[in-house]
């Protein structure tokens, strides 16, 4: 672990000259440059970014703060972020909040301490405080995936309402009337948007929205299981389930199997977010799939643009289209049993 001084000494120059060679800034004669370079090589010198950043006030580091690293949607998004960032010579720190506001707060503090240049934040809740905190500390923020109401901040997300509308309409057209909506947490914008789309589809079809079939819980397998159990207990039993994300769908599917119900014979099932084809043995679920990779890429590009920009531009909202994929998990509702 040698320092710039060791290199300078070995090359018989000043540290400044070494610095110039390192950053290709200013003129250095060919022979001196050569001497410096061999010194660097023989010592195995690696510059200390800490010191550099302390001086330059820039760490060339971004952070991606997300709510669930085990969710393939976010893993895919993360790859998009990483790709763009490393193309631009930036490192990414990944932070997993597990939807916990406390964990999020802790992480943000650490990130400020580490002086990251920018943060890509999937907010754990609607609270504006965390974003204000970052902005006040002079750190660029781009919010990802979820809206935070009443906040002037850059945002990149997938379209939710329209896709949920289409998915629901799909079921209504097949003749379903009792569609249970297994939605995400009330304080997460994507959950609200998807419920919105669901409601609009009923309205557009001229039907009354079955409010008692709307459930809200966590975006997890366990949440999906809880909501599916509640939904199946309703009389008359729903003939279709709308899972508001992939994990909820999996939980719901577990419960359906427990009850000996098969898809789509007994019940139809649609979901938001696809599972990666590579992880599902036989993709059969009708889904609305968001361009996770692209969301990550766009968000990172926007963040990097902000970092380079001299003048602060007005916040921007980028909404990327969601695609509905029809597969085999939907069918007309079974004929009602004759009593």
């Amino acid at each position: 672990m040698s320092t710039i001084r060791d290199v300078a000494q070995r090359a018989g120059v000043s540290t400044m000259t070494v610095s110039r060679v390192l950053n290709s800034t200013g003129y250095v004669s060919q022979p001196t440059r050569q001497r410096v370079e061999t010194a660097i090589a023989t010592l195995g010198y690696v510059p200390n970014t800490l010191a550099r950043s302390l001086r330059s006030k820039r760490t060339k580091t971004l952070a991606l703060v997300l709510t669930d690293i085990t969710n393939p949607f976010f893993t895919t998004l993360a790859r998009g972020v990483e790709d763009v960032a490393s193309d631009h010579g930036f490192t990414v720190i990944f932070c997993n909040t597990d939807e916990s506001i406390d964990a999020q707060e802790e992480y943000l503090t650490v990130l400020v301490q580490k002086q990251v240049d920018g943060v890509l934040l999937v907010p754990a809740s609607d609270a504006p405080a965390p974003i204000h905190f970052l902005q006040q500390q002079g750190i660029a923020v781009v919010v990802v995936d979820r809206q935070v109401p009443g906040l002037a901040v850059d945002l990149v997300r997938g379209e939710s309402t329209q896709a949920a509308y289409e998915l629901t309409t799909q079921l209504l057209k097949l003749g379903h009337q009792q569609i249970a909506m297994l939605a995400g947490p009330v304080d997460v914008s994507t959950a609200r948007d998807r419920v919105d789309g669901y409601r609009r589809a009923y309205a557009a079809a001229g039907q009354r929205v079955p409010e008692s079939l709307i459930f809200q819980d966590a975006y997890t397998v366990a949440g999906g299981e809880r909501m599916a159990r509640l939904a199946l207990a309703v009389t008359p039993r729903p003939t279709a389930l709308f899972a508001a994300n992939n994990f909820i769908a999996i939980g719901a599917y577990h419960v359906l199997r427990e009850h000996g119900l098969s898809v789509p014979t007994d019940l139809s099932l649609v979901a938001f977010d696809d599972l990666p084809h590579s992880l599902a043995w036989e993709p059969f679920l009708t889904v609305a799939t968001q361009p996770a990779d692209l969301i990550g890429r766009k968000a990172t590009e926007l963040l990097l643009a902000r970092l380079c920009a001299e003048a602060p531009a007005p916040p921007q909202e980028i909404v990327l289209p969601t695609r509905v994929i029809i597969r085999r998990s939907c069918a007309p509702p079974p004929l009602p049993a004759i009593h």
Copy 2:
């Protein structure tokens, strides 16, 4: 973005006193401490870790360098790492090499520049150079998942050979003789270990090892597809496939479906590494599953222990047991067609 000096000024004390309050080191009288704390609060002061680390030579940061962030095995491992690290006040930087040696080298350089305290490395290849590099730079290393031959370094991995032996024996007992081994890259120790187990099982059963049924390719879906195609082209066709990891299993399964072959009626299939139950609709694959989370945890604990230790202890190898789970993907081979 205020500094320690701003706080000191506002509290009417020296920076040193503020530092003492911050780190609870040395004595500070209650009233002064109070003044300092309110100054910190009103200014929204957050200490700059860069400067602190430059002084203390410790960043309280670890790095996890792995080969495929989309693989649930590694995601799970990563969570284990993160949990232990954050319990001890350490941050983790995740780096994804995509099995590329160049990408790995680049990342390691960045990590040295960032002065991370320790690295958890899933090596992209058998080459010892990267590990020497880290050690020479005075950075603690724990190798994870894969052995690097002829190197004195801490290692935490799952057991492979015995589990592969059991999986193969399972198939042999069912009457399979032509078991194709779809293995990972030649220069990755886990791949070698699993092939070893496979060979031993044949030997223990007193049968000749069908060398022409051993294939080696990448640990990916595409690799699995390629190997499965080759395996199915062999005459007589194998009656069982052994996929050496989860992604290979998925690729193999794709090809089986293409060929209109069903599992386990036409062919049996076993695999190393499970898919998370939450991501498979109906788990049916017989697998050897490694305690990924525990591997991550143990590796991190070992690394942290090394960081605290005064005297360097001899390298340690921790091998965690792998569990075989029998599910529905295995059956006796179909009766040979009558000619």
